[in-house]
């Protein structure tokens, strides 16, 4: 989807304000909101691509106005309500009105270090042939999927060159929509600033792109 999250190439958001010696949190609710997002993710009720897609589906103005942890909190509520894990009324009132819906796992305190240390690798075996090799010239397909995609708008239709091959990885466009992991070849593609933006510089942008986003270029 061409959502508010797809920020690359916008201007008008002002300077990058960076804080010297920045603390991890800026308000007391932030760590709680952050930990709730992680802990609910650990219940196995959704995958990372579904979680990203929930954030993208927030209304654009809300997305742009929100701080990072606000945005994560709003997206968490969206998912909880959509999946029937909590009801809108429960969320509003902060108390249980419906019996809990079973979840795959509840992460106890003692399980957390192991869960974080193992993470969630995205590489998967696949029998698909590798379509491109390092140095191949490719062009990004001009597509505008209505659902989740990790193909940024600013790269669509642009020509680039393969600089790395990462094997076959879970395909977010499928995995975000309950259509399975559908692993696809993942490449890093280098685009010159000239090709992306018409800039006369030596600069470049490298983007990780799955094979279905790409076609061979002459």
């Amino acid at each position: 989807m061409n959502g508010p999250h797809d920020m690359g190439g916008f201007t008008g958001f002002g300077p990058v304000l960076h804080e010297y010696d920045e603390p991890v949190w800026h308000d007391g609710w932030e760590p709680r909101a952050f930990a709730l997002v992680l802990a609910m993710g650990m219940t196995g009720s959704w995958n990372i691509d579904e979680a990203r897609h929930a954030r993208e589906r927030l209304p654009a103005m809300q997305y742009w106005r929100s701080s990072y942890y606000e945005m994560r909190h709003f997206a968490l509520i969206l998912q909880l309500i959509e999946l029937g894990i909590v009801t809108a009324m429960e969320e509003e009132q902060g108390g249980m009105a419906m019996p809990p819906k079973p979840v795959k796992r509840v992460a106890k305190a003692e399980m957390i270090p192991a869960i974080l240390a193992s993470g969630g690798p995205a590489n998967r075996p696949s029998n698909l042939p590798q379509g491109f090799a390092i140095d191949d010239k490719v062009r990004v397909r001009t597509i505008n999927p209505s659902g989740h995609t990790r193909l940024p708008r600013y790269a669509r239709g642009k020509a680039g060159q393969i600089v790395a091959v990462h094997g076959t990885h879970v395909f977010p466009d499928s995995n975000a929509h309950g259509a399975g992991e559908d692993p696809q070849w993942l490449y890093t593609v280098r685009f010159t600033a000239q090709d992306l933006w018409g800039q006369d510089t030596k600069d470049a942008v490298c983007i990780d792109l799955w094979e279905p986003y790409l076609e061979a270029a002459p």
């Binding site: 958001f13 990058v16 193992s118 990790r150």
Partner: protein, 205 residues
């Protein structure tokens, strides 16, 4: 749980909580009441990213790369394994790539679509990294953004921006500054900044 100087509003029941803070608190109570969340697990998660996982980890990787050519070579070939050998693995660092700055290339990392960031080596991302200005401008005007961080890259040097659109996570290995010959790994780790490992800073002795 350790508190490093800044206040935690949730410890002060009912006093001056913003509507959002109240809403987060209410959701926590609800999820605990429904049995989905162990409140002690929340404390462990917070403590982990407050005190255990942060940019000091990445600084150790950089310092080792500067002093140990075999490690640097391993980092170039298989950053995930090389970094794991120092004990940094897992969530948001499952597939690591190390980007070595050189006199020809200055690397800089962004996630234009969300806020992907190599947690095991850098901890949680700073606010600016997740902000709309950085996410929108890093790919189209990286040199202007770098100037706002006080970094001037000579025209003849390529600025190469890495947009983290997949589950691959990037760690910039900055150039070792002159004047650090003979320094220990620990001394070197002490001068490596978070921004230098994102590519919005350079390391100075």
């Amino acid at each position: 749980m350790p508190h490093d100087g800044h206040h935690h509003d949730h410890d002060h029941e009912g006093s001056e909580l913003s509507p959002l803070a109240l809403r987060v608190k209410a959701l926590e109570s609800l999820l605990v009441e429904k049995g989905y969340v162990d409140p002690k697990a929340l404390d462990v998660l917070i403590d982990t990213y407050e005190t255990k996982i942060g940019p000091r980890n990445g600084a150790r990787v950089v310092a080792k790369a500067w002093t140990d050519p075999t490690f640097a070579d391993w980092l170039k070939r298989d950053a995930t394994a090389a970094i794991a050998s120092l004990g940094y693995t897992g969530r948001q660092g499952e597939h690591m790539v190390a980007l070595f700055n050189t006199p020809e290339t200055h690397n800089m990392v962004v996630c234009t679509l969300c806020s992907c960031y190599p947690w095991p080596v850098l901890g949680l991302p700073p606010v600016w990294y997740k902000s709309m200005p950085y996410r929108s401008r890093a790919v189209i005007e990286p040199r202007e953004v770098l100037k706002e961080f006080g970094v001037e890259v000579p025209d003849e040097r390529e600025v190469r921006v890495w947009d983290s659109t997949a589950e691959v996570r990037y760690l910039v290995i900055p150039e070792r500054p002159p004047g650090t010959e003979g320094w220990s790994e620990e001394q070197l780790a002490g001068i490596v900044t978070r921004n230098a490992m994102i590519g919005t800073g350079i390391v100075t002795a």
